[in-house]
Amino acid sequence: MVHALNEAHRILIPQGIMIDLRPLSVDVPLEIIYQGGGESAGMIDMSPDIELDRAADRAIETVSVEQVFRESWVESFDFPYYWKTFRDMKADLKEYWMTDVIVPDEVLQRARILFRKRRPQTQILVRVQMKLGKYEKQKKVIVG
């Protein structure tokens, strides 16, 4: 990761900007939303990727300490995923998120109960937390 950041430093112009945009390993609720409201079925465990998250943070810290980049802005925001059916959500979980998240059985069961209440415009919602960091290129370069 530090190598990639140093490569980014190399190809950037002197006033260049590096953006770190990625999902955070922060547990989030599995929500059932409907016209006029919403309810949480419980929390989704996002911890399986936490070591990757920490490694990325360490790489950013390294290049900041070495004055390769200087942090100028960091924020987090919601990145929502909406499903209209349980089947679609489970298919996506299996195909795309199998190694990234853990949805406890009791959370799935509660979500199914809430979903079956058939309130108008019912959907399943997961709001993944994203990080957006903006870093300005500095003059110093790590050697080696």
Partner: protein, 97 residues
């Protein structure tokens, strides 16, 4: 994916709020199948999407919408960028750090 992903464009909104893409030379590292790059492809002066996955890059290219400004897609890894020094204004690590 069967989900509606970020239908209101929060990701692009936050990126736009943070930096000006218009008229810039932009590299997105980890562009995957181009879902994000397509959202802002008309803004930069030059836009390059980079990813190690060739099948994702084929998908990215085939899913491009008609535009006078089309991004370039290149197979490479972030640790060895096939570009000369000082060639981009903005580098975006898109879920790739």
């Amino acid at each position: 994916m069967k989900a509606a992903r970020d239908p209101d464009g929060a990701e692009l909104h936050h990126l736009n709020k943070t930096c000006e893409l218009k008229g810039k030379n932009v590299l997105e590292i980890g562009c995957g199948d181009g879902k994000f790059i397509r959202q802002y492809q008309v803004m930069p002066r030059r836009l390059v999407g980079l990813d190690p996955g060739l099948s994702d890059l084929y998908t990215a290219k085939s899913n491009l919408t008609d535009s006078i400004k089309l991004p370039y897609f290149i197979q490479a890894v972030g640790e060895k960028l096939p570009f000369p020094s000082h060639s981009f204004d903005i580098v975006i690590f898109a879920s790739s750090l």
